[in-house]
Amino acid sequence: MFDLDKWQEIFATIRKNKLRTFLTGFSVAWGIFMLIVLLGSGNGLQNGIEYQFQSDATNTIWLHPGSTTMAFKGMKPGRQINFTNEDYTFVKENIPGIEEISARYYFWENRIISYKKQFGSFDLICVHPDMQVIEKIVIDQGRLLNQVDQQRNRKVVIIGLPVKEALFKNGENPLGEYIRVNGVPFKVVGVFTDRNDRDQQRLYLPISTAQMIFNGGNKIHNLTISTNISVKESEALEQTLRTKLAKLHRFNSEDKSALYIGNTIKEFKQFQNMFMGIKLFVTVIGLFTIIAGVVGVSNIMIIVVNERTKEIGIRKAIGATPWSVIFLIIFESVIITAFAGYIGLVSGIGLLELVNKFMPASDFFRSPEVDFNIAVAATLVLVFSGMLAGLFPAIKAARIRPVIALRDE
């Protein structure tokens, strides 16, 4: 099989039939090219959206109070449900397995932030220190908010990178500087970044300070907890929270609009399932493209065998065994598919690299790539399919009777 002479014989045949070789190879190269580009784009799509998703923790449950739509114990529907610090404490103490917990208090209006003569309007979000973990923010300068800030009602703030760029136009170091939030000076202790650009256009304040200074009382707007549990457990937890908070706030636990619950554990799982589906779909399309290529090669090889009937007859008349004919055809096909496939592989990966390099990452598309194992597997599939493509024509060729060669045209 590794007889150099046999290979030379095959290469000589390939070299002397360039157009035929090119046409045969092209369909395979195209098939592999498409497979690689498809798989790469699939991965790019997934990477893009996963990147977005991972700008926040994917193991959180969000609780937003709403207003009732059902009468409950003599109370009319339409009653507003409000959360307070007590709800924060209640959830923290009564729900087991919580990793992080934070309340949020928002400013809906009057969000004027200023530093010296620079003004801007950004989201003001007042949180417990745990929220910084849930939001997966990354400190660029300074530090995060901490428990001491919270306990002592310190007037400190951390600001997003775009906020820094908007307010500190002259390149001053913001750490230790005071910015005015609705007129009240707050000391900047940190600058952060977040993968999600919208989540960067923010300032985070300790919730205790904000409630005190901006007449918030003990009011909070929502609650977020993070916990490492399965999808099923998270659904049970949703139910538990709903039941307990319904009792506390006296609304019907069936009344969904009295309490909105977001579950990123479930959403992330659904997202992962969707991507499994997309990946499978893309793989199947890719495989069919390869199969089309293989069928193409097989077809061309059959035509080739027909064209070469006389030659094969001559070879057999002068002593070629059926096996040597099979070898000749199959390995010609294997060489062409392997080589063409390799070209398809390289150009596919090349294209993905170019896209990766020159196309800016967007929310939906980021670093398209094909992993090494898939590339290796594709190459093996190729060699195998080359054999398959050559098999039937080869058997046909081996059956050609040398008498044919004797027959005069």
Partner: protein, 230 residues
């Protein structure tokens, strides 16, 4: 060298059958140069296919070089053809994309002779047929006579015991025909049995013996020398 006893061969085409060889008896000695003649459809090509182990036969006995040839599988047949038989065809049957040297060397490739060695041997044989300078030319660049000489060199390279030539001069003019026949005669003088199928009387007269085939059986068996004496 070749013994045929009561050889029968029938072709089946759909529901029709064609009984081509109807009991051929023939004996060819080692070192003979004979011609087989017959009108088209008489079965002479079929007979040559049987002798060349290119086709099997239905009934009878065919002994080639002391071996009974019957029910060989393709591989055995291929090896026997390679070792004992050399073919020369009317239409030359050279492989179009291989040059003269590679065409001549091909039987040695199937014997497993290394490339370098077989090219040296092939060059010797090309020299013998006077085409050393044409070794690197493709068949399309050669004249009819040159092509046939390449084919003869190819038939000889495996040192066969029998050369089978099917209308070797059919596509050549009379001058070239004579040259090719001279060459085959030279081959014959080295002790190789030569069998030529032809329908040209002049050509058959250049062999030792003429076997005339009629309607699937041997018609006449003419010794050429005697014919010339008459």
């Amino acid at each position: 060298m070749i013994q045929l006893k009561n050889i029968h061969k029938t072709y089946y085409i759909g529901q029709n059958s064609l009984h081509v060889l109807k009991g051929v008896d023939m004996h060819i000695e080692k070192g003979e140069m004979i011609s087989i003649m017959g009108s088209s459809g008489s079965g002479k090509s079929t007979l040559l296919n049987v002798i060349g182990i290119l086709d099997n036969y239905d009934d009878g006995e065919f002994i080639l070089d002391g071996k009974l040839i019957r029910d060989l599988n393709e591989t055995q047949a291929a090896k026997l053809r390679n070792k004992t038989l050399g073919f020369v065809f009317q239409s030359f049957n050279l492989i179009t994309f291989k040059n003269a040297l590679e065409n001549v060397a091909l039987p040695l490739y199937y014997q497993g002779v290394k490339r370098k060695k077989r090219n040296i041997i092939a060059m010797e044989y090309l020299d013998k047929v006077g085409l050393r300078d044409w070794a690197n030319h493709l068949p399309s660049e050669l004249s009819g006579g040159q092509k046939q000489r390449v084919a003869i060199a190819r038939a000889l390279i495996a040192k066969p015991k029998v050369i089978l030539a099917d209308e070797p001069t059919g596509a050549l003019d009379s001058q070239t025909s004579l040259e090719v026949m001279d060459m085959l005669r030279e081959v014959n003088q080295t002790g190789i049995t030569v069998i030529i199928v032809t329908h040209e009387h002049d050509i058959s007269m250049l062999t030792d013996r003429i076997i005339r085939i009629r309607d699937g059986v041997i018609g006449e068996n003419i010794i050429v020398e005697k014919l010339n004496q008459n």
